[in-house]
Symmetry: C3
Subunit: 177 residues, 3 copies
C-alpha cells in the first residue's frame, strides 16, 4: 500500500516530503482512522514505531529506485493482495476484540484495508477509485472481514484470521489475473 | 442525510459499494468526527449497530428504487429538516455532557449536523456547499444548537432538546419553502 | 494560520460560515487530528475554549477588514513563522509526554504544524501545497520538532521547546526572505 502511494506521488510531481506523507497515509491511513474511531488510546501506527519506519523505508525505496521489470510485475500483485487481506483481518479482529457487533466489525475491517488508499485519492483530488470503477479491493476486504467474523462466531479466531487472509488475498489475485 | 448521500452517489456513477459508503459518511460522518474529537471510547455509530444498519437500508432503498413523485417531494424536506435538527441537538447535548463549554458545544452540535455532508462533498471532489452558497443547513444547525445550550444554562436539558429540534427543523423548512 | 485560512476563504467566495470554518480548520485542524490519533480524551481545541474563540476573532477580523499595507507585510511573516514553530514544538512535546518514540513524535509535531493547512487545501479542492512545491513549512516544522526531540533525549525539555521554537521560526523567516 505504502509502495503504491509512493508511486502515485511520483506521477503527481510531489517532493520527498509529499512522497513520505502519501506513503504513510496510503499504508496506515485506514488503520489510523479505525483506531481514532475505536477511541482506545493512541493509534497503533504511533505506539509501534515499526509501522512508520516501514512506510518511511518503502517511500525511500520508491523515491530513489524506479521499480519495474518482469520480476516486479509478478511479485507486486502478491504483496499487494497479502497486505489487503492482512489489513482487513487485523481491522476486523481489533473491532471484535473491542466488543463491537458484526456489522461495525465488517465496516472497520474494510475501512482498515481500503481507507488509506481512499484518503490518498481524496488528498490528490480524485474521487476514491474504490467507490466506483474499481470494486476489487473493497470486495476482497469485505470477503476477508466476513470470513474472520464467521470464524469468530464459531469461536475459532486464529483459524479465522488465517483463512480470511488466504481467501481475501487469493480472490484479489485471481480476480486481477 | 444518508438518503441524500445515496442520491448523489447515483449522479456520480458510483457502484453499490460507493453508494453504501457515501450513505454511511453522509449520515454519520459528522457524529463520527465528533466522537473521535471527544475521545471517549468507540464512536456511537459503531457501538450501536442500529446506526450502520439504518444507513445500509437507506442506501439499498435508494440504490434499487428511483424515488420521486409528488408524495416524496413533500415528505423528503420534512425528514431532512428533522434529521438536521436531531443531529444538532444530539451533538450539542453530548458535548455539554462531556463537560465542554458553550462554544465547543456549539461547534460540535453544528459539526454533527453538517459534518457528514461536508465529508461527502470533499470525497466527491467538491468544495462543501455549506461553506459557501448554501448557508441554510449551517444556520439551522447553529440555531438548534444554540437553543439547546441556552436551555442547558437554565437547567432544562430535556425541554431544550425538544425546542431545539422543533425550532431548527421549522426554520429549515420555512426558509426553504 | 487561522488568518491565512480566512484570507483564502475570501478568494474562494465563501460566506461568513465558510470563513469561520476554514479559520478553525487552518488553525487547529492539525492539533485536532493529533489529539484524535493520541486518543487521550477530548481534543485540546475543545476543552480549552480560548482556542475556538481566538480562531473566531481572527476570522471576524479578516472577514471585516481587508488587511494590507507595509506594516502588515512585515509583521505577518513573523507571526506566521512563530505559529508554525509553536505548533511543531507543542505537538512534539505532547507526543513525547504520551510516551511515544522519536519517530511518532516527529510525525505528530509536523502534523500539528502543517496538518491544518493541508486539511484546508483538501477542502478547497487543492492538492496540499506542502506535499509539493512549497516545502518550506514542512522543513521548518520537522526541524523544530527534531530539536525538541534531541533536547528531550538530553533531558532538557523546556530548553528544547525554546530552542525548537526559535530555530524553526528563524529558518522559516530567513528562507522566505
Amino acid at each position: 500500500m505504502a509502495v503504491l502511494g509512493g508511486a502515485l506521488a511520483r506521477t503527481h510531481r510531489l517532493d520527498a516530503f509529499g512522497f513520505v506523507t502519501l506513503a504513510i497515509l496510503s499504508g496506515m491511513g485506514g488503520g489510523m482512522i479505525r483506531d481514532a474511531l475505536l477511541g482506545q488510546g493512541p493509534v497503533a501506527a504511533l505506539t509501534d514505531g515499526a509501522y512508520l519506519l516501514t512506510a518511511l523505508i518503502a517511500a525511500a525505496v520508491i523515491y530513489l529506485v524506479r521499480i519495474e521489470g518482469r520480476w516486479w510485475d509478478r511479485t507486486w500483485p502478491v504483496i499487494d493482495a497479502l497486505a489487503l487481506g492482512c489489513w482487513a483481518v487485523v481491522g476486523t479482529q481489533k473491532a471484535l476484540a473491542a466488543g463491537l457487533g458484526w456489522l461495525p466489525a465488517l465496516f472497520l475491517g474494510t475501512l482498515t484495508a481500503v481507507g488509506g488508499g481512499a484518503v490518498r485519492d481524496v488528498i490528490l483530488n480524485k474521487v476514491p477509485s474504490i467507490l466506483g470503477g474499481n470494486t476489487l479491493y473493497a470486495s476482497c476486504a469485505i470477503l476477508a472481514s466476513g470470513v474472520v467474523i464467521a470464524f469468530g462466531v464459531l469461536d475459532l479466531p486464529t483459524l479465522g484470521s488465517l483463512v480470511g487472509l488466504v481467501v481475501g488475498a487469493t480472490v484479489c489475485l485471481v480476480a486481477r489475473a
